[in-house]
Symmetry: C2
Subunit: 811 residues, 2 copies
C-alpha cells in the first residue's frame, strides 16, 4: 500500500472526532446536541451512566478499519471485547448510516442526534453496552472474556471474512480470554476466515492497572509469540498531545502492513502451505479515555483508571464540571464535522465503505439473515430395533452419532460439533467415518493422531469456555452446531449460558434481528455413570440453572433411550432461538420404544407407557410412577416389575417425561400442560412417585400448584456419591428400584398397613446389594441381569451382558 495522504489523515481524524463527539454526547447530553447554544445544566442528563475510558480507542480503530476495508473491499466484522464501549459502536453505526437505516427515527439531522444522545442508557432507550440492539454486534461484551472465542466461532467456515476482535486488557485477565488465544491452533488457513486480535492496552480497569500493561514490552512480545502470533506494536504516549496526525499516519501504515501480511498468509495457504502461520495481532497501547480531560478536580484522569466510567460525575451539579464538559465537547470541533442541519460532512462520511462492507451492516452480524436450514437425514432410518420393550440394548449417544455422521456428510460447511476432548468418550465416534478433528498444531503420525486433520467438522479443546464461545460465534453468524460435554462440567460455562440466553431473549423482541439456530447441548457422561471419576464428576444442576432463564428461550430434554434421543435431537437441530439441553447416557441401556412410539412420545413430550403399567381402563390407578432420564426410567421400570410381582392387585400407571418443560403450567412455559391435561396423566389426587435424573427439587418446582402437589414424591440426586458401581450410586441416593417400591408402600394409603413384610424385604434387598457390592466390587447379578418382563419372553436371558458391561472407556 502507498503511504497515506494528508487528506486521508484529515478524513480519519474527522471521523474519529465525530465518533468521539457522539460518544461523549450520548453519555452526557439530553438536548442541544450540537451545542448551538451554550451548554447548560439542563442539557445534561440527570443520571450519567456509561463508560468513556475504552471508547476513543474503539473509535480510532473503527475509523482506520473503515479506510482499509474500503480500500481492500474486505468483508469485516468488529467484535468489541470491551462491550461497555457501547456509545462508540453506536456512534460509528450512526456515522456510517447503518443506525438510521435500522432505526429510521434516529435521523441524520439535529433532531436525530438529539434522540441518539437521549436514548443512550436512558429509561425506554438503549442499553449502555454493545447489546443486541447495536447493529453490527454479535457480542454484548458485558461479561468479559469471550471476544476471541466469539471471533473465531464467526471465522470458522467463512473463508473470506476478517474478524477484528478488540480485546480489552482487563478482559485479557479472565480465564476464558487467556485460553482463547490458543484458538489459532484450530483455525484452518484456507477454509476459515481470519481473526485479527487487537489487544487494547489502555492500561486500566475500574480501579487498578492491568497486568498486561505492566509487564515489560519484551515479556509481552514473548507472550504473544508464545501464543502463536506475530505481534505488531503501536503506542500513543499519554502526553496530552492534541495533534493526532502522527498517530493516524503510523497506525494506518501498521494496519496496512498487518493486512498485507494476512493477504500473504492466505495466498501461501492457497498455494498449498499447510503450516500454521504466526497470524498477526496488534498491541494497541493508547491512553485510557484518550482525548478526554487530562485532569479533573486536580487528579489525573485521562491515562488513568479514573477515566474508566463517567468522568465529571457532577457535570449537572457543579459549574466547574459543566465547564470542563463544555470544553471537552468543543475540543472535537463538531462545527467542522456536521452541517447546519446536523448532517455529517460528506467527505468524512466517505471514509465508510459502501453497503454491507460497513462493519455495522455486515450480514454475518445478523446471522439469521444468512441461516440456511440443515439438510437432515431421516432419523427414522437410524433407529434401533425394539421388538419388545427392553428387548434390545444400545448406547444412546452412539446411535445418535450414526445419525450425526450423516448430518455432517450432508452439511459440509455449516454444521460443527464442539467438545472438550469427549466426542469419542461420549460415543459419537462414528462421525469420524466422514470427518476429522480440525487441528492446526503439530502432527506426529497416524499411530497416535487418529482422526486428526487440518480440516474437519469436529473441534476439540479441553476448555468448555472455548467450546461454548466458538459455538456461540458460529451460531450468531448463521450456522448450526452442538456442544457435547460431560454433564458436571457444563457448569463451567453457566455464566456464558446466562449471557447467550439473555441475548436470545432480547433479540426475540428486536424485529430486524433474524432468528438463529438454537444452541444445542448434548450432556452425556452424566451424574449416574461417573464410574471412573466419582463425586467431583457428579452434578446434574445445569438443568436447574437453565430453567431460571426465560421460558421462551430454554428447553430441557431427558430422552430415556436411543430412539427418543434421535427424535429429540432431530427436533433440536430444526429449532431456532432456543437453548436446548439434552441429557443422555452413553452406556449400554435397554431400548424401550420403537421408532414410531418414540416419535409419538417425544411429540407429546411426556406420556403414559401403557405397556409398563397395569391399570384398568376407565379407572384411575392407585399410584403413578413417573420417570425422567435414562437411569431413573430403568429403576422405575424395575420397581414397577417388582410391584407387579409382589402386589399384582395394585394398579400402577407409568409415566415417562422427555420434555421437562411439559411439567410446568401452560402459563409458565410455552410447552406447559394445562391443569386438566396434567391431571389426565398424573391423576388429580393419586400419589406420584417420581424418579428424576437430577436434583429432586426441580420437579417440585415444575409441578408447583398442580392439584394436590404434596402428593408428588421425588427421588433424584441428593449429592451423594463416590467412585462406586452404578447400582450403588442409585442406592446412595435412594433412587433405586427397591427404594421406589418402599416409597410406593409408604405413600399409597391402602398399602401402608399391610405391606410390612414386602417393605422389609426391600430394605433387606438394599442391604444385601450393598454388602455384595462391597465384597465383590460389582453390582448384584439380580440387578445387572434384570430385564423388563416383555424382554424376558422375547429373548430368554435378555440383554444381560450388555447391560452389565462396565467398559474401560467411561472417562
Amino acid at each position: 500500500m502507498e503511504s497515506i495522504s494528508e487528506d486521508t489523515i484529515a478524513q480519519l481524524d474527522g471521523w474519529w472526532r465525530a465518533a468521539n463527539y457522539l460518544s461523549v454526547g450520548q453519555i452526557y447530553l439530553l438536548d442541544n446536541p450540537l451545542l448551538r447554544t451554550p451548554l447548560t445544566r439542563d442539557n445534561v442528563k440527570p443520571r450519567l451512566l456509561g463508560h468513556w475510558g475504552t471508547t476513543p480507542g474503539l473509535n480510532f480503530l473503527y475509523a482506520h478499519l473503515n479506510r482499509a476495508i474500503k480500500a481492500r473491499e474486505q468483508p469485516t466484522i468488529y467484535v468489541t471485547g470491551p462491550g461497555h464501549g457501547g456509545p462508540g459502536l453506536v456512534a460509528n453505526a450512526y456515522l456510517d448510516g447503518t443506525y438510521t437505516e435500522t432505526y429510521p427515527d434516529i435521523t441524520q439531522d439535529v433532531e436525530g442526534l438529539r434522540r441518539l444522545f437521549r436514548q443512550f442508557s436512558f429509561p425506554g432507550g438503549i442499553p449502555s453496552h454493545v447489546a443486541p440492539e447495536t447493529p453490527g454486534s454479535i457480542h454484548e461484551g458485558g461479561e468479559l472474556g469471550y471476544a476471541l472465542s466469539h471471533a473465531y466461532g464467526a471465522a470458522f467456515d467463512n473463508p473470506d471474512l476478517l474478524v477484528v476482535a478488540v480485546v480489552g486488557d482487563g478482559e485479557a485477565e479472565t480465564g476464558a480470554l487467556a485460553t482463547s488465544w490458543h484458538s489459532n491452533k484450530f483455525l484452518n488457513t484456507t477454509n476459515d476466515g481470519v481473526v485479527l486480535p487487537i489487544l487494547h492496552l489502555n492500561g486500566y480497569k475500574i480501579a487498578n492497572p492491568t497486568v498486561l500493561a505492566r509487564i515489560p514490552e519484551d515479556e509481552l512480545r514473548s507472550l504473544m509469540v508464545g501464543l502463536g502470533h506475530q505481534p505488531y506494536f503501536f503506542e500513543v504516549p499519554d502526553d496530552g498531545s492534541t495533534d493526532h496526525a502522527d498517530a493516524h499516519r503510523r497506525f494506518a501504515a501498521l494496519l496496512d502492513d498487518v493486512l498485507d501480511r494476512i493477504t500473504e498468509i492466505k495466498a501461501n495457504a492457497a498455494a498449498g502451505d499447510e503450516e500454521r502461520p504466526a497470524w498477526p495481532m496488534i498491541v494497541f497501547r493508547t491512553p485510557k479515555g484518550w482525548t478526554g480531560p487530562a485532569t479533573i478536580d486536580g487528579k489525573k484522569t485521562t491515562g488513568s483508571w479514573r477515566a474508566h466510567q463517567v468522568p465529571l460525575a457532577s457535570a449537572r451539579d457543579t459549574p466547574e464540571h459543566l465547564q470542563v464538559l463544555a470544553q471537552w465537547l468543543a475540543s472535537y470541533r463538531a462545527e467542522e464535522l456536521f452541517d447546519a442541519d446536523g448532517k455529517l460532512d460528506p467527505h468524512i462520511a466517505a471514509l465508510a465503505p459502501p453497503g454491507q462492507l460497513r462493519m455495522s451492516d455486515n450480514p454475518h452480524t445478523n446471522g439469521g439473515l444468512l441461516l440456511k436450514d440443515l439438510r437432515l437425514p431421516d432419523f427414522r432410518a437410524f433407529g434401533v430395533d425394539v421388538p419388545a420393550p427392553g428387548a434390545t440394548v444400545a448406547e444412546a449417544t452412539r446411535v445418535l452419532g450414526q445419525w450425526l455422521t450423516e448430518v455432517i456428510r450432508l452439511n459440509p460447511d455449516n454444521f460443527r460439533i464442539f467438545g472438550p476432548d469427549e466426542t469419542a468418550s461420549n460415543r459419537l465416534q462414528s462421525v469420524f467415518e466422514v470427518t476429522d478433528k480440525q487441528w492446526e498444531a503439530e502432527f506426529v503420525g497416524p499411530e497416535v493422531d487418529e482422526h486428526l486433520a487440518r480440516a474437519g467438522r469436529v473441534i476439540e479443546m479441553l476448555s468448555e469456555h472455548q467450546c461454548q464461545g466458538w459455538l456461540e460465534g458460529y451460531l450468531l453468524t448463521g450456522r448450526h452446531g452442538l456442544f457435547n460435554c460431560y454433564e458436571a462440567f457444563i457448569h463451567i460455562i453457566d455464566s456464558m449460558f446466562n449471557q447467550h440466553a439473555k441475548w436470545l431473549k432480547v433479540t426475540n423482541h428486536i424485529p430486524w434481528r433474524r432468528p438463529i439456530a438454537s444452541l444445542n447441548y448434548l450432556l452425556s457422561s452424566h451424574v449416574w455413570r461417573q464410574d471412573h471419576n466419582g463425586f467431583s464428576h457428579q452434578d446434574p444442576g445445569f438443568i436447574d440453572h437453565v430453567v431460571n432463564k426465560r421460558a421462551e428461550v430454554v428447553r430441557v430434554y431427558l430422552p430415556p433411550d436411543a430412539n427418543t434421543l434421535l427424535s429429540t435431537y432431530d427436533h433440536c437441530l430444526r429449532s431456532r432461538q432456543y437453548v436446548n439441553v439434552v441429557v443422555a447416557g452413553k452406556q449400554p441401556h435397554p431400548n424401550f420404544l420403537t421408532m414410531e412410539e418414540a416419535i409419538a412420545h417425544c411429540t407429546r413430550g411426556l406420556g403414559i407407557w401403557e405397556w409398563a403399567g397395569n391399570e384398568k381402563v376407565g379407572r384411575d390407578p392407585d399410584v403413578v410412577i413417573a420417570a425422567a432420564g435414562d437411569v431413573p426410567t430403568l429403576e422405575a421400570l424395575a420397581a414397577v416389575d417388582l410391584l407387579r410381582q409382589h402386589l399384582p392387585e395394585l394398579r400402577v400407571r407409568f409415566v415417562n417425561v422427555v420434555d421437562l418443560m411439559r411439567l410446568q403450567d401452560a402459563t409458565e412455559h410455552p410447552h406447559g400442560l394445562s391443569n386438566r391435561d396434567f391431571d389426565m396423566i398424573f391423576t388429580p389426587d393419586k400419589p406420584v412417585i417420581f424418579a428424576y435424573h437430577g436434583y429432586p427439587w426441580l420437579i417440585h418446582r415444575l409441578t408447583y400448584r398442580r392439584s394436590n402437589d404434596s402428593r408428588i414424591h421425588v427421588r433424584g440426586y441428593k449429592e451423594e456419591g463416590t467412585t462406586t458401581t452404578p447400582f450403588d450410586m442409585v442406592m446412595l441416593n435412594d433412587l433405586d428400584r427397591y427404594h421406589l417400591v418402599i416409597d410406593v408402600i409408604d405413600r399409597v394409603p391402602q398399602l401402608q398397613s399391610r405391606c410390612a413384610t414386602l417393605r422389609q424385604r426391600m430394605v433387606d434387598k438394599r442391604l444385601a446389594a450393598r454388602e455384595y457390592t462391597r465384597a465383590y466390587g460389582d453390582d448384584i447379578p439380580e440387578v445387572r441381569d434384570w430385564v423388563w418382563p416383555d424382554a424376558r419372553g422375547a429373548q430368554g436371558g435378555g440383554p444381560v451382558d450388555a447391560v452389565a458391561a462396565t467398559g474401560g472407556d467411561n472417562e
Copy 2:
C-alpha cells in the same frame, strides 16, 4: 549441589518403581498384591477403574522431590493438577508412611498392600482422584484448571513454603489455568512462599494430543517467558528404554538447579531486591503412561492417549491381556522393593524426608491443624446510628468496610480480601487506610497507582477464577478471607463453588481433616442496582445454585441494612466449614435496625418487625408482607406504608428474612424452622406476599410443604431489565411497592371486592412512574423522596438526597 551418586540414583529408581508398582496394583489387583503366586484372572478387579497415563510422571516427580526436600529440609507441598492420578499420590503417601499413620488398617505388610489395592476405586473404598481422603492433598483435581490458583493461594503468607504444582497439559488448556500463570504478578518475593509450576507435558488427553505438546519448543519457551517464568526443559524420549538412570541423573541435576535458583531469588529479595523475578518453572516432557506396555492389541499405547485411563481393559477376561498385565507388573521387580512381609526396603524408604517434611504429612495440607481464630474487633462499635427506623442512610458495604479495616489491622498475616477489581467499587475502600493491593508488576507512580504496593492484604485481578482459586488455596491451608464480587459474575465460578462445597462435605466425614475457615462471599453490585450496565449484569441465581449443595455446608444471608450486614459478617468470619453467601447493596439505603435490634434479628435469622406492621396483639394479621434483601425490604416497607395510609383497618404483619435457610424445614437444613415456629411467624393460613431479592422460585422451594404453601406469593427478579433507573427496575419485575399493594388486594379475600379504586390508583401510579421516568430519565420524586413514617417525624424531610443519589461510581 554436588552431582548425584549412583546409590541415590538407585534409591530414586527404587522408589519410583515401587510407586509405579503400587499404582498399577491399585488399578488392577484385588488380591495377591506382591504376585507371590502367578497372576490369575481372579486376582484382577471385576471393574477396572482409574487412570494410569499421568501417574508414572507424578511418581517420578514425587520421588525426586523427596530427595531434594530431605537434602534441603525445605517444607514442601505437592498440588496434583492431574488429580485423576490418584493412585500415584496414594502410593507415595503409603511409601513414606503417612498413609499407614492416617489409616492404621492399611499396614506396611502384605495384608496392608492387599487392602491398599483393593480399596482403590472400589465400593466402600476410596475415590479414584486425589480426593480429601488422600493425605497431603488440598486439591482434588477432578475438575481441571485450578492447580496453580490453589498453589498460589497456599503460598500467600507462607514465606518458607515451597508449593510444587504439577499442571497437566490437558488442564493447561482450560481458561482458569491459562490465566492463573499470571499469579506470579501477585506473589510477594519476601512475605509469600514459592510456587514451582511443573508443566507435565505427557502429550495427550482422553483422545487427543494437547496443544502445548504440539507447538515448537521455541514457541513454548516464549510462552513461558512471556508468562514471567524462567523455563527449565526436561525431556524423556518415548523410545521404550527401560534404563532410567540417565533420566534420574538429569532430572536430579535440573531440580537442584531450579531449587538453587529459587534460593538465590529469595536471598536477593531478603537483601532488598523488590523486582519481580522470573521464577523458575519446569517443562516435564515424558511419555504418557511411561513404563507401561508399549503396545496393546498391536496399537501404540505408552506415549499415546490410549494410555490415559485403564489400558488392558479386559485383563480379567482375555488371557492375552492378563499376560501383558503380569509382565508389566513384573517389570517393576517388586521382589527387590518389598521384603517377604511386604515391607518396603529400608534403603528405599530412606529417600523420604522425616516427619512433617514428608509432602503427604505437611500440616499445611490439613489447614485446620494450623487454623487460628481471627482477632475480630467488636462490630457493635462500627454500627450506624438509627434513632428511628429509616431515619438514617448508609451504604451497607461501606460500613462493613470500616469493620474489615480493623479486621485487617488486627490480623496482618492470615486474612485476605480477594476481588476482581471491585473492592473499591463495592465500597470497601476504607481498608486501604491500613493496607494496599498487593501487586508485583510494574508501577508508574502515585498519580495513578493508588493503594498499590508490593505487599498488601487485598489482591485484585480481573478473574473470578483466580479470586476463587486463590481464596480456596488460602483457606485450605488454614487461613481466613473473603471474596467480594459482582453478584451476576459470581456465576463464572459456579463449578469451582461446586467442587469446594463437595470437598467440604467430604471432609466433614473424615475425622483427621480438621475444620477450615468458611469461604465467604460478599456479593454486591447486585441485580437491582446495575444502573450503568443493565441486563447482562443482572443475575441473582448464584443463590439457587448454592442451595443445590448439601445443607450442611451452605448458608445464604440477605442482610437488609448496614447493622445487619455487620452482624452477619462477624458471624461468617467466625464460622468453619461453610460456604457463606452474603448479598448486600452498596448504594445509599435507609437503616432500619439499631445494632441491638440487628444482632437480635440476625440471631433469629428472620423475624417480625413489629414497628413496621399494625397487627393487634394476640390476633393473627390479615396479611403477612415478607421481604428478603435490601431493595425488596425497602419496597415492601413502602408498600406497608401505602397500606397503612389507604387501608388503616387492614392488619399487616411485616417479616424480614436475613438467613434464607431459616425458611426451610428443620429436617432439610440445620438452620430450618420447625413448622410450628414457621406458623408462629407467617401464620398458618394468611396470605403471604413475599418480596424477594432473587428468582421467586427459590422461596417456593424453601417454603414447600409449609402450611397452606399455596398462600405464599413471591415477587422477585423475573429476568427483566436493561439500563434504567432503580425504580424502573423493580417495576419491570413487579417487585415495586405499588405492585405489592395490588398483590395484597388481590390475595386478601376481604379486599378483593371493595378495593377496586385503590387498586386502580396503584395501576395508575405505576403508569405515571414509568412515564415520568421515560420523560425525565429519573425516578419520580414520590419514590426517590419516600422515607418510612417514623423517619419523617424524626428528621423532617428525611434522608431524601442520599436515597436518591445515583453517583458516578456504580461500575
